[in-house]
């Protein structure tokens, strides 16, 4: 399974990510997800979210998640970009892509990856008014 993990303070460049997609002939499903900062957090209007990461543990925990994904689903490729630092409303903070032979496993793996990230990957957010 190809894996690409990027933790960055730079804006997520969707067009560049899509341009670098690689698929072998047996792949029939590409699921990708974009997480975007909402303009409201716990009922209050905000302008941005400041993301903080415990970087070395973030990378390790993502790779543990990828290890499990590789065993559970026939994934050819997973790519994930998580932005840290200040991310303004309507800007993406997360981009995930999973490539598999069929759609069922691609949706399931992508959903599971995001659920696991929200459970174990040490990233925190602080709303900015």
């Amino acid at each position: 399974m190809n894996r690409q993990l990027t933790i960055t303070t730079q804006p997520i460049d969707e067009a560049a990510l899509l341009a670098k997609r690689k698929l072998s002939g047996g792949m029939g499903a590409v699921v990708y997800f974009l997480g975007v900062v909402r303009g409201e957090e716990e009922g209050r209007t905000i302008t941005a979210i400041e993301y903080e990461a415990f970087q070395k543990m973030v990378e390790h925990q993502f790779h543990l998640i990828f290890d499990v994904m590789e065993k559970r689903w026939p994934i050819e490729s997973v790519r994930l970009v998580h932005r840290i630092g200040l991310v303004r409303v309507n800007e993406p903070s997360l981009w995930v892509e999973v490539v598999t032979p069929h759609r069922g496993e691609a949706f399931a793996a992508c959903q599971w990856l995001i659920d696991e990230m929200k459970r174990v990957v040490p990233i925190w957010k602080k709303p900015v008014a």
Binding site: K56, H60, W124, K125
Partner: protein, 81 residues
């Protein structure tokens, strides 16, 4: 033995510092260290039930026996995405 303790996210504010060191007897567990830290940093102690504990880059159970030079991290529930 000595271990380094790191606070992340708003636990830094609750503790009033990002990092500290603790001198411990051999055989002390992560859970016992957490109890000591809760006494020393009461605002962090108040979050005890929701605190996540890691040693290095891995989560560890409370009965994990600490080793000299371990880097222990305390932080609140994670919120990525």
């Amino acid at each position: 033995m000595r271990v380094t303790v790191c606070f992340h996210s708003y636990f830094k504010d609750l503790a009033g510092c990002a990092e500290t060191t603790e001198t411990l007897a051999e055989g002390v567990t992560l859970g016992r260290l957490h109890e000591k830290l809760a006494e020393r940093f009461p605002k962090v102690g108040a979050m005890k039930n929701s605190t996540l504990l890691a040693v290095g880059v891995d989560y560890q159970p409370r009965d994990y026996v600490l080793k000299d030079g371990d880097e222990v991290s305390l932080f609140p529930p994670v919120q990525g995405g």
